[in-house]
Symmetry: C2
């Protein structure tokens, strides 16, 4: 028996992360039975977003315009640049901190074995930005994985070569974390990074 449109919808919903066959079925039936306007709006916005959202030509985060909101905002500091791995990291920093500077989104991290070198991360573009002389501090906010550390080190060297200060975000015990449940690497980092109290 050939698949019905409902089966196709259930199958299509499975492209969403964390959505298995059961959740996809529940979502499809919910939209069809209880929220058709929501489903129609989602279809329209999704189509529009997939067609129009690209990358900011300055910082490479996701945007439907040539410049993202941050790069287009004349009110933000132009002398501090935060380097992150993904557009999700930009959202996280914007939502959690009072950071008002610029970003550079790598869309990955250095990983020579996977063929990801400086070019794939847009580091040529980053170098051009650093060369323009406006930036006085580069905040390295890549992940604390091995690749993230290598990437941070590489970009730190680019900054140092131009006499620009580079800083790394603090790694330590998370707020509310109990010492006995924190992993050894984090605890060791927290001791090394201790500050005057």
């Amino acid at each position: 028996m050939k698949s019905s449109l409902l089966d196709e919808l259930i199958d299509a919903l499975r492209c969403l992360p964390g959505v298995g066959p059961k959740s996809a079925q529940r979502m499809a039936l919910h939209l069809l039975e209880r929220d058709r306007p929501g489903g129609e709006r989602l279809a329209a916005v999704l189509q529009d977003a997939m067609a129009r959202i690209g990358h900011c030509k300055v910082c490479r985060t996701l945007t439907e315009h040539e410049l993202c909101r941050v790069c287009a905002d004349p009110g933000r500091q132009r002398d501090v640049l935060c380097v992150v791995e993904t557009p999700a990291d930009v959202l996280a920093v914007e939502q959690a901190t009072g950071f008002r500077g610029q970003y550079h989104v790598l869309l990955g991290h250095l990983s020579p074995l996977d063929g990801i070198g400086p070019e794939e991360l847009g580091l040529d573009r980053l170098e051009t930005r650093l060369d323009q002389g406006e930036i006085r501090e580069v905040i390295l906010a890549t992940s604390t994985t091995a690749e993230g550390e290598v990437t941070a080190h590489y970009i730190g060297e680019l900054a140092r070569a131009r006499g620009i200060r580079s800083t790394r975000i603090a790694h330590g015990v998370p707020l509310g974390g109990e010492l006995e449940y924190v992993d050894r690497g984090t605890l060791s980092h927290a001791f090394e990074g201790r500050r005057e109290y």
Copy 2:
């Protein structure tokens, strides 16, 4: 600052059940960064499904055709009719059991306080089907809630008035259930419904 297309997409994804702001953001970024073809397909199928999927004119389950797959299948038994509350229940019965008969989908249950009476449940249409004389057994598979029981009772009476046998699916201890953790109502039902061993 006006909302960006990415914000709109995140907001639109929240119409899906069980999807809060964090999951919606993760889904939007996943589609944009890693699965644009999946996102485009979802948009197209969703639009199509919202526009074309309606209710089967015989059993009222969801279908994009005049008749659903079950009602259109000449190979299925025409003398047994299973009454369920929702299209999801049809899928559950089809996936779990070897039932090969017909369905009637109420799209709800009797609930006079909410203005849901026999007409809203398509019981006039069900009566017409019962009157046609093909059906010899009505399986009452409504929920075990108070409203589900009332609905089952009402439809049981419709069948009885026409001399048609009506049966209720068994209620008891679920497979793998341990007696000490089963609620009292279920255990009491299981005792009343005991069978020869």
